[in-house]
């Protein structure tokens, strides 16, 4: 769990996600809008029945990337605060793998920031999903995160 300068709440763990606590965290008296995204485990994928999923992460880096996403939302959108939670380990059908809540004075910023958060999370946060079917398991297709361009190499001192 991590509280940023903006009083955002960013979590990554194996316990079930509690959306109500995340919503209570972001929802203040000066907000006119709260938009939430609940990513749930579907019972099918590419036409096959899914049994369950397993998520793994490069945990320390993933948490840092999630914090960066929250911080960037404050610079991009007129929002109040953000909560982002991602779950790891085995998840059953219908369970929440990721939950994002964004509060704002007005709805436009809340919608755009929430959408931006999940789109960016799926592109840049080092988390991997393995899908288990009746006849085996596969790592889900994913996205290759953008990598900064090479800077002129500096020879290390040692």
């Amino acid at each position: 769990m991590s509280l940023s300068a903006h009083d955002d709440l960013i979590t990554l763990g194996r316990d079930p996600i509690a959306p109500d606590a995340l919503i209570r965290h972001v929802r203040q008296a000066h907000d006119g809008a709260v938009v939430t995204f609940d990513g749930c485990v579907r019972n099918h994928s590419h036409g096959r029945a899914t049994f369950y999923l397993e998520y793994e992460a490069y945990e320390s880096m993933a948490l840092e990337k999630m914090r960066e996403i929250a911080a960037s939302l404050h610079t991009l959108f007129a929002i109040d605060s953000v909560a982002i939670a991602h779950r790891l380990g085995r998840l059953e059908i219908g369970e929440t793998s990721v939950f994002i809540a964004v509060s704002a004075p007005h709805r436009k910023a809340a919608f755009e920031a929430c959408r931006h958060a999940i789109d960016t999370l799926k592109k840049t946060v080092p988390i991997w999903k393995k899908e288990f079917f009746e006849d085996g398991a596969v790592w889900a297709d994913g996205e290759l995160p953008p990598v900064p361009a090479a800077t002129p190499a500096v020879k290390p001192a040692s």
Binding site: W128, K129, S158
Partner: protein, 81 residues
């Protein structure tokens, strides 16, 4: 020079280890490091174009020159959410 190397997802399954520690010559790059593991595990080589690397938990280009104590990770396409 000692470097800690992490593999995730499909890459972890291929190399058979989540974490390894290797000794590298000074001046070696992340690309050199990947090549070394590809020599041990030839199947890795075919994933080269769909892998990104991180250095001390920041995405880093292949040409990055390693420094003592670096933590390097090789990451397949991410699929969180």
């Amino acid at each position: 020079m000692q470097t800690r190397v992490l593999f995730f997802g499909k890459l972890k399954e291929l190399t058979g280890a989540a974490e390894q520690s290797v000794e590298l010559r000074s001046g070696a790059t992340i690309a050199d490091l990947f090549d070394r593991f590809s020599n041990e595990t030839p199947a890795l080589a075919s994933y080269r174009s769909s892998v990104v690397a991180s250095r001390n938990q920041e995405f880093a280009p292949w040409s990055t020159v390693l420094e003592p104590g670096d933590e390097i990770a090789f990451l397949p396409p991410v699929s969180g959410g």
